[in-house]
């Protein structure tokens, strides 16, 4: 027989109150876990997308001239002789301090070619990097790999009525169409896409690239710092971060996270108040019992221990069940909120934090009732002697 036996027996005897307390705290913990898990899952999903879909840094040769096109509208009759980058200089990217954050380097060469008497834009790409970067491209057939192969943009396909396997004469060289790019609604629709080395030879730009797209792992990495670092190792270039989409999405997630924390804190406060009121009620209900404990020689600290031990057991149980409920709610809610793209991942820190937070809140809310119980004078509590 120890104090914990008394606590366990009391909880068993007053099951209704114990269950009510557990449910009160459980709802709070489950809400917090659900909201935090959802924001985490969506944040990770957003980061995954940022890492895997599209560039967020673009390197172009520095030009003193201002752009003469806007929104795809080219100023008629004006042409600029574009400068190119030396492909060999791209090796310098390995020297930047944040090299670990560079996921993909996709160099491209651009130039006009003649097909059937018409001028068309050809883009030479490093197939491995480019198709990793442009995962949203939908290709009938297959991407280009090597040699005189072409992936053809939708507008070009329609203009020349091309099919898979067709041969296209580009600058008097035969190219085989191996892939048809579905309409993207961007300038990609106007392109003939070939392997980088072949395009460089066709355009007469051996060893040169027109631009480089870089995908950086950018959840926490300092994009602005990376821009400066790249600028330093690639003199004569313009390095720009494409951050608008990233920032918009991160801002939205940040707002949701803030809202989630707000709701979570409110629910936890309500849970704490519930524990407080219930424990105060329990102390009043057990006044006589506490009087007996004190009369038979229990110290104030023993009474304090009895109440806080009970709060700890109830809160720990609520923490565990609340965490499991929160995970279940997350699994149900994720497909509805993020189109099934985000996935839940086991986060041991959240699990441990949920249980400890529940115990902390339960104990905090029980402190005042516990002190009140321990301060009860035995004679007042008993009223029997």
């Amino acid at each position: 027989m120890r104090l914990e036996h008394i606590v366990l027996h009391n909880l068993r005897r007053r099951k209704g109150r114990a269950i009510f307390l557990v449910i009160g705290l459980l709802i709070g913990v489950a809400t917090v876990v659900t909201l935090l898990s959802l924001t985490d899952a969506m944040g990770q999903r957003a980061q995954h997308e940022l890492e895997n879909f599209g560039a967020n840094i673009i390197i172009t040769p520095r030009s003193d001239a201002l752009a003469l096109n806007y929104g795809g509208i080219q100023l008629a009759g004006v042409t600029l002789i574009a400068k190119e980058l030396e492909q060999s200089s791209l090796a310098n990217i390995d020297d930047i301090p944040n090299r670990r954050n560079v996921a993909t380097i996709a160099p491209k060469v651009l130039g006009a070619v003649e097909v059937d008497g018409q001028r068309i834009m050809m883009m030479g790409v490093d197939p491995a990097a480019e198709f990793k970067l442009k995962r949203w491209w939908s290709i009938a057939g297959r991407p280009v790999e090597q040699g005189h192969e072409l992936l053809v943009g939708d507008a070009v396909v329609k203009r020349f009525n091309l099919n898979m396997g067709d041969t296209l004469i580009v600058n008097n060289q035969d190219f085989t169409v191996v892939g048809l790019l579905a309409k993207t609604g961007s300038q990609d629709d106007q392109l003939l896409i070939a392997p980088l080395d072949v395009a460089q030879a066709t355009l007469g730009k051996q060893g040169q690239v027109s631009m480089v797209e870089i995908a950086a792992l950018c959840h926490d990495c300092p994009v602005d710092d990376m821009v400066n670092q790249l600028q330093t190792v690639l003199p004569g270039t313009d390095v720009q971060a494409v951050q608008q989409v990233v920032k918009t999405r991160m801002h939205a997630l940040g707002q949701f996270r803030l809202f989630a924390w707000g709701v979570a804190v409110t629910v936890v406060i309500i849970g704490a108040l519930l524990v407080f009121v219930t424990m105060m009620g329990a102390i009043s209900e057990r006044t006589r019992e506490i009087g007996i404990f004190r009369a038979i020689g229990y110290r104030r600290q023993h009474v304090l221990q009895l109440v806080l031990m009970e709060a700890t057991i109830v809160s720990a149980l609520a923490g565990v069940l609340g965490y499991l409920t929160g995970v279940a709610a997350t699994l149900v809610a994720l497909p509805l909120l993020d189109g099934g793209k985000a996935s839940w991942q086991w986060n041991p820190t959240l699990a441990v934090a949920a249980v400890f937070a529940a115990i902390f809140v339960g104990l905090l809310a029980s402190l005042q009732p516990a002190f009140r119980a321990s301060r009860l004078e035995p004679s007042e509590a008993l009223r029997a002697l």
Partner: protein, 235 residues
Amino acid sequence: MSLIELKQVNKRYHNGADCVTALQELNLAVNEGTFLGVMGPSGSGKSTLLSVLGCLTSPSSGTVHIDDIDVYGLSHEKQADFRREYLGFIFQSHNLIPYLNALENVMLPLAVSKLSTAEKRERACNMLKRVGLPDRMLHLPQQLSGGEQERVAIARSLVNNPPLLLADEPTGSLDSATSLQVMNLLSELHQDGQTIIMVTHNRENLEWFDRTIYLRDGMIEKDSAGDARSFSKAV
């Protein structure tokens, strides 16, 4: 030698502007091994006296020594220890913990002691056997009769081997046959050398005491010490 010594004890209760004197200038010495009965009309101060002796209500003035310890000179926590080591309480309404069985109720004072669980259990079992409840150990209070509950309460009050047993109308809610059983048990304890102070309204209990005091208005009006027969006639 006196186990208990009260000197000039006063106890006043304040309720707003009203002041009720429950004990006044009370002097009392009780020897070890005495079975002391405390009688008196309602409001005479019997329960207050027991409460003061039980280290539950501090007197407004005066001193209380039990086994030469100035009990109200002790800190709150030391008073709790004192109650646990020196005093056993038997309440009128049994005051058993409803969610603990008889054995656990008896073990209750030992829950905060450093004894091993086996020792605690053995002591409690022996005590329940001593009060005649060897086969009711695992019953909850509501499964026991009033007399059985009283005996569990007596076992609980004795499990710490306290030098002093304080009983507040232990037969007050029992029928005469069960009261007789309880008084027999207390008498046996007394014969074994236990000091007992018992508050009672029932004059039939007088025969069990070897000393009786009669309180009125917070003072000892009569004390049978040395003359029990004349006291019995007087009250």
